[in-house]
Point group: C2
Chain length 459, copies 2
Amino acid sequence: MGYFDAASAAPLHPIARQALQASLDEGWADPARLYREGRRARVLLDAAREAAAEAVGCRPDELAFTSSGTRAVHSGIAGALAGRRRVGRHLIVSAVEHSSVLHSAELLEASGGAVTQVPVDRAGRVKPSAYGEALRADTALACLQSANHEVGTEQPVAEVAEVCRAAGVPLLVDAAQSLGWGPVDGDWSLLTASAHKWGGPSGVGLLVVRKGVRFAPQGPADERESGRAAGFENIPAIVAAAASLRAVRAEAAAEAVRLRELTERIRARVPQLVPDVEVVGDPVRRLPGVVTFSCLYVDGEALLHELDREGFSVSSGSSCTSSTLTPSHVLRAMGVLSEGNVRVSLPAGVTEEDVERFLTVLPGAVATVREKLGAPGSEAVVREADALVVDSLGKRCPIPVIELAKVIGDVPVGGLVRVLSDDEAARLDIPAWCEMRGQEYVGEEPADKGTAYLIRRVS
Amino acid sequence: MGYFDAASAAPLHPIARQALQASLDEGWADPARLYREGRRARVLLDAAREAAAEAVGCRPDELAFTSSGTRAVHSGIAGALAGRRRVGRHLIVSAVEHSSVLHSAELLEASGGAVTQVPVDRAGRVKPSAYGEALRADTALACLQSANHEVGTEQPVAEVAEVCRAAGVPLLVDAAQSLGWGPVDGDWSLLTASAHKWGGPSGVGLLVVRKGVRFAPQGPADERESGRAAGFENIPAIVAAAASLRAVRAEAAAEAVRLRELTERIRARVPQLVPDVEVVGDPVRRLPGVVTFSCLYVDGEALLHELDREGFSVSSGSSCTSSTLTPSHVLRAMGVLSEGNVRVSLPAGVTEEDVERFLTVLPGAVATVREKLGAPGSEAVVREADALVVDSLGKRCPIPVIELAKVIGDVPVGGLVRVLSDDEAARLDIPAWCEMRGQEYVGEEPADKGTAYLIRRVS
């Protein structure tokens, strides 16, 4: 099977399936009831909570089951902000958080709160000191993912937690991508996760709120799950989620070594097999199963389609914006190439053969897409007094970069190329191309339509 | 099996189980993805949406799957109120709505909005004209359940929808208890439901918003389910929910006749078998499987415990307040006795033998509880100038009513009894006892501690 999108959703773990089926008979009743069916459901729910809490490294009464990881993030941020409303309404997030975190931040801003986005380096990693600098007297909460969902880079959570703790600010860790691999280190205050990322069923998230953290649940009152997750508990799914977390943890150490070797192979070989590729994300401090690369002169969606025809399922850009044409906010924050972006995230149990076959298929798929994009006409090129002008208005990435690459040799070393583009992705991809090609990115300026990007040939 | 609490949660329908298991293999991937696993998931999701929409009687694009019925109500009310924010912030609800509706109303009030509660008659039914009278120029939304969850009374939804429609106010119908039996009649604007009430799995609710209804989803943005239900879709559960809705609908007409006969039997026989019982709820316009009665001089929780020992699972009072000592808001709004309250809600497929066995066991269970409550000491009785005073301070219901019943014969016809009680349930149960016993309830007045309830002996 060529399903390489485990960071989006993992197939159900066999243990999860067993647990789900077993608890369909025992776990359907209301656990708040005192009769036998209710008591049985309560026993299952309590046991699942204990197992999940042990895997997280928290007390059972600190852990609530939500209906998804997204819901855990939404409820966790809203509750933590409200709990510290008297301190202020300032929120700190990294620039590469999951959309559920960033959308929560947008909601805060829309209602008059303030948000600071902490930048990342080219590997997608934040500096703990940057969190320290972002802290203010009115900071209610800081958020940091344990590892990035698009490029796999691990974040310095323990160090950031220490910085926040010293300032008395709670840190919420979105552990969606990493919890299956191990507990989150450090003295964090809140934690969220999503069961279908570790082979549990859909419909289960975790929200952990450490004792002593001020927390005021938002929305209409509801007495279930300590008031932190409204609605009837989905006990069979919760039981399956806890069982699969325990199961993947038992296999995690060995499987991490195996997947890390396979992704290392992809990291090393893709640039050898495919010309004009940039592998992105931290090469060392990263999730075992994730590797992301971008291919110059390639349309990401077309490449996904080619790979799907060959039996491989991968994602491109940010999963939550795949239906839009906006380049991934993660790649943009990293300042790396977004065009032709591919995220490979290997599921547990993937075979070496599948990975080898992917490496065999990829070069042809990239070549096919590049060929289809073809050579654009040169009628769009005009020589001005000081620069060669490429008019890419109305053309979607990667066309502007392709046209730039075609004409850069037509100007002398020291000469300028001006690319006119109204595609937002060009703002990211033209500087990234310059970086990859050793050319100088001079800057951008507004043009009649869209933006003019200035490039100086230096080699 | 003596599980008689289907109005709380129904065991999984065999069809739901089959559908769930089949779609665990096909429905785990992200339906927003374009690769084969995502496309398969999308096909399943689309088919489930069409099936559910057909059962509801709406367009598929009007229907979103939420993570629970409670969540559907919370999101539906919040979105409808926000969509008509410019009209005003007035909400109309019936006094007997589910707690998810009433808690949404409390949240609105807490943020400065206004709520009108429409009263019900002794059968638990609203008058359509009362909705008409409650409408104001700033009314943003009205809510009415299709049928009551505690007593089974059906509400005049179509008539209320007409009244609201004429005023240009949308009506949200909480159809949690009735959707398995059939579509909701009338020109309603929004509808909510919960799959585990009709034998679907936990973790699936429905939120229907008719085209043309102003709706502004609240909370952080999320592109799934038309922006109306954040978080990764739980497709296997959604498929199972739709399949079981279709299955129970196919059996609904015949099963309704059968269950109605069984509940009719309970309605008729319980007052013959057990002394001092009041059957509550509309005797005709009611759900097929629900029958509710209250037993004088009985503690509801103790009776549930006795019945559980005999193998019967029933609920008492409001399901959402069963863990508190507050009497059910539904019974209070109806003005009927709340003490010793039992709701029997028969699951599909229940046998006549189970019901007969329940009727055999019930009288002994009630007698046991009454015996345990015993005869309270008469030292609390003081004869004042104008009345016999019963000091029930510090005693929980049904003790105040038991003490009242014990002394009423000690005053002459026309004489007064004054019951001192600090249990909130007395406010409901003492007038209800008077109604049942043909005595005159004179009224209440504040006492040193608690409240004094005045009763005149008239027979």
